[in-house]
Symmetry: C2
Subunit: 254 residues, 2 copies
DNA sequence: GTCCGAAAAGTGATTATATCTCTCCCCCCG
DNA sequence: CGGGGGGAGAGATATAATCACTTTTCGGAC
């Protein structure tokens, strides 16, 4: 092993190897232009490359996994997920996600997403708009009620709007809220059903963004989320007396 | 060694030891009623307790560290950081917090905080209002420009508004953004100075909240943050040509 | 020729053990 | 009584071997 020379820029601020390795790996992802789904070199290969032992490199990977930067699959490999060091993240071990939390999450999204939509209308690039259209078309194609895939396709639209806002940090924030929302929703209503109105609303929002109409985008996004709140209220009413039971079973938020 | 018997509860849902260990450790924290700052057993002790090897337990600790649940200090020990189930949090290892990120963070806060202020105006309890007043008085009392304590007292007001909104999740979200903002600001402008306008603005916002005037609270909060943006622009201009240099040195966020 | 299944290769998961470095605190020396 | 040295304890890292899972490949059966 030749002189474990550090190619890194004057690091040494933290004498913590695994901390430096996380940055090193993120740099690698950026430099090699790896995107979500791409596979990283094997643990052994990475360890050799950085001149560290495998358990050490593993610690770095675990940290990246915990923040959603990479995805580790036993027997298969390590894959890029978000690929960047996220600044705002959702707890990986959500506890106490009851109906209270679901409503709070929706409320929070109602604050954030209209802002994102407005920003997207003002700043979306041509590439952003193209991706939004792609995502919407994909959702239309894979539309089947009571299908998890369809729900995910609809989520993708919200993600795409967040990214199109041009503010990666606010986008991350919304992603964190959406992740938690999905978990809370699934826990509250195991039999999810996709409503066709989703697609319709999304199309209208896209039109407003493409038309650079920030006010309208904001309004539509706001109404879209309010409708979701109304749906939840409906579902709760349907469940009737079971609601209280459900609430307890889930361990209502703190 | 055949059929290593697991002393742990049933589990086996995820055949991933370190995943189970993270939950196990969090349970331990809860069961032993450990709070922020308390020390956990040593790595070796924990490994022995759960019947795993130290590197494996270490991976679990790294994951918890990555999400801010615990704090690991070389030579000293592992300590509880928040342990409590926060749902949205700032990365405890922020990287790439340059001036770009500072502006994005401010932008994000400009989306979130007016919403929080409006919600606080609608839903703040008497106790919330009392605390807001306390915090504001405290900030006035400890007002010294160029003092870190003064800056923190002003931050406390924003925290208090967030909590008064009645939405703990959106409050956590804003806290995460504020934490990151503070770090990014300190990195960009090491010689922080507190402006007296802060206090004045906060007093006005409190008045609007106490007066249950949601629209006005929203407006004031919005303007307050826009002013902060103008100040940053001014600081950047002051630094003149050095700005570009600074930007590079900090490693501007992607 | 095609298809299925078993084996092999590659990759992550876990173990066990040893050594190094840092922090903290106690106790001894001045 | 105060400060510094040193030891105990804690985390950090290395090494090497083995286990478990996934993917690929290749040969045999049909």
């Amino acid at each position: 092993m030749p002189a474990r020379d550090r190619p890194v820029s004057a690091a040494a601020s933290t004498p913590d190897l695994s901390t430096r390795l996380t940055g090193e790996i993120l740099d690698l992802i950026r430099r090699e232009d790896l995107h979500a789904g791409d596979r990283l070199p094997s643990v052994r290969a990475l360890a050799a490359r950085f001149g560290v032992a495998t358990p050490t490199l593993r610690e770095a990977l675990r940290r990246l996994q915990a923040t959603g930067a990479v995805d580790i699959r036993h027997g298969s490999g390590t894959y890029v997920r978000h690929g960047r060091g996220r600044l705002v993240l959702a707890s990986p071990v959500p506890q106490g996600l009851g109906i209270d939390s679901l409503l709070h999450l929706l409320d929070a999204r109602t604050v954030v997403e209209p802002g994102l939509a407005a920003m997207a209308a003002e700043r979306a690039t041509a590439a952003d708009l193209a991706r939004l259209e792609d995502v919407l078309l994909d959702a239309e194609r894979s539309f089947f009620p009571n299908d998890g895939r369809s729900a995910r396709a609809n989520e993708a639209f919200h993600f795409a709007v967040a990214r199109a806002s041009g503010n990666p940090i606010l986008a991350e924030t919304d992603e964190a809220l959406m992740d938690l929302y999905a978990v809370a929703y699934a826990a509250a209503f195991p039999h999810a059903r996709t409503r066709s109105r989703e697609l319709h609303d999304h199309a209208a929002i896209l039109a407003a963004i493409a038309g650079r109409n920030a006010q309208r985008a904001r309004q539509l996004a706001h109404r879209h989320l309010e409708d979701a709140g109304a749906d939840i209220a409906l579902l709760l009413a349907e469940m009737g007396g079971d609601a209280a039971e459900q609430r307890t079973a889930l361990g209502s938020g703190q």
